[in-house]
């Protein structure tokens, strides 16, 4: 099965110092390395701050474009991985290795 691992960060996460962000990035790099070692097929990306988001709403064929995220939240999507795992328990075991405090796992429509 395919799972999406979503990392949620506090909305002010992107205000962190460059050093803090680099340290975090390196943790994710070593997690990616571990995934590769395990032979797990995956892709993963880190996202820019939601203040850089653009939202599109289409009603009756009319699209409105606005600045900012779809919904203002205290914790926002900061990055994701998409990977293959045999079942939810295996996916949870992988997610436990991911260096992040808040993770949501969702199966991908197949």
């Amino acid at each position: 099965m395919k799972y999406m691992l979503m990392i949620y960060d506090p909305a002010d996460y992107w205000d962190a110092t460059e050093d803090e962000q680099t340290a975090d990035y390196e943790q994710q790099v070593s997690f990616s390395a571990w995934l590769r070692e395990q032979g797990i097929t995956f892709i993963g990306e880190a996202l820019q701050s939601p203040t850089t988001s653009t939202t599109l709403r289409t009603r009756d064929g009319e699209t409105t474009i606005t600045d900012g995220p779809f919904i203002e939240l205290k914790e926002v999507l900061g990055g994701f991985y998409l990977f293959d795992a045999p079942d939810l328990d295996a996916a949870i075991a992988i997610a436990k290795r991911c260096p992040a405090a808040n993770i949501e796992l969702r199966p991908v429509w197949e």
Partner: protein, 418 residues
Amino acid sequence: MTHPLPDATIAALYEREWARVLGTITHLTRDLELAEDATQDAFIAAIDSWPQSGIPTQPVAWLIATAKRKAIDRLRRQTTLQRKLPLLIVPDTTHDDDPTDGDDVIPDETLRLIFTCCHPALAPDARVALTLRLITGIPTADIATLFLVSEPTMAARLTRAKRKIQIAGIPYRVPPKAEMPARLPAVLQVIFLLFTNGHGARRGPEFVRPTHIHHAERLARMLVALLPDDAEATALLALIVLAEARRPARHDADGELILLPDQDRRRWNHALIAEGLARTRRALVLSAGDPGPYALEAAIAALHTEASSYDATDWEQVVSLYNMMMDRAPSPLIALSRAVALGERDGPAVMLTEVDRLADDPALHAYAALHIARGDALAGLGRVTEASVAFEAALATSQNAQEIRSIQRRLARLPRSS
């Protein structure tokens, strides 16, 4: 040639073997909803064909084979045939970790079902309900009654949970030991509910449903074999064994219910009592001074079984154990049991005060036991007219034929006037 209608046989098989058939089909199809439908189909097929063909020599094997065929039929009607058919032919065994680490206990399909339904990724309120539904096959309406919600609410909850198991890929297995602690409380609760439901089914004609108790006992034994050092699992088994020990005395020759004070203690099963007491002691040792709810329940049951008569019960200890339970996990039902124990220790006036304090609890108001306890206290005080009003209220709330007759006997025993 026709055979006598095997309806009773099929009903008994349904109670006893539903989970085994469902578990096997789930194992093969990895699809709970499909397995549930196919199992239902197989029992319907038995009702249709056994009166003509007679009962097969191996009814469970027949049911499993039929359910398997019904599952394939259902799959054929779906577009997923290509994807799932191979699983029906070659069962997927890649995730069958052996949680027993070489132990001689082979967890059966029922245990696998329970652990799957108690996965922490499922909503807590759905876990126990789903497990009960799947391992006993009891109707959704009855489960809704047990959880005090409406039938549509319960049906929606069950459907959501089954979909999640399927779509999120929750594996169908007994988890490795490291993952057990997170699932154990829900598993224990299911076994406990099965056991209490077997002992005091609130609906229907019989007060004791031995099949449910046997399920509960068998599952508790398997759990203890899996986790021999778990205090609460051991305590739950102790509790069930002690109740089983008393069962022979719970009924008179006509099958009528005899309550604890009136039971002939010589009819108790003393081998089971010895086992139950030993398991209670072990549970208390394992809980190392911090007994959980099942250890406390087992300790209370042990005090009852150790007493030579009802009056000789160590009520002081019973009350203090109920106090501990109220400190840890208060519930209206425990409060009611505590009130009755207080009454035995301090007399009917105290009991009445305690019961009246609970009477406003909406969860208890619809519960016949509250009104029975109130009636007993009033009768003990000689307030006959009020006692009969309380027993009438109990009659109005009870949905169980045996309980109703037990209340009617109380009414009949009241003196004519006060």
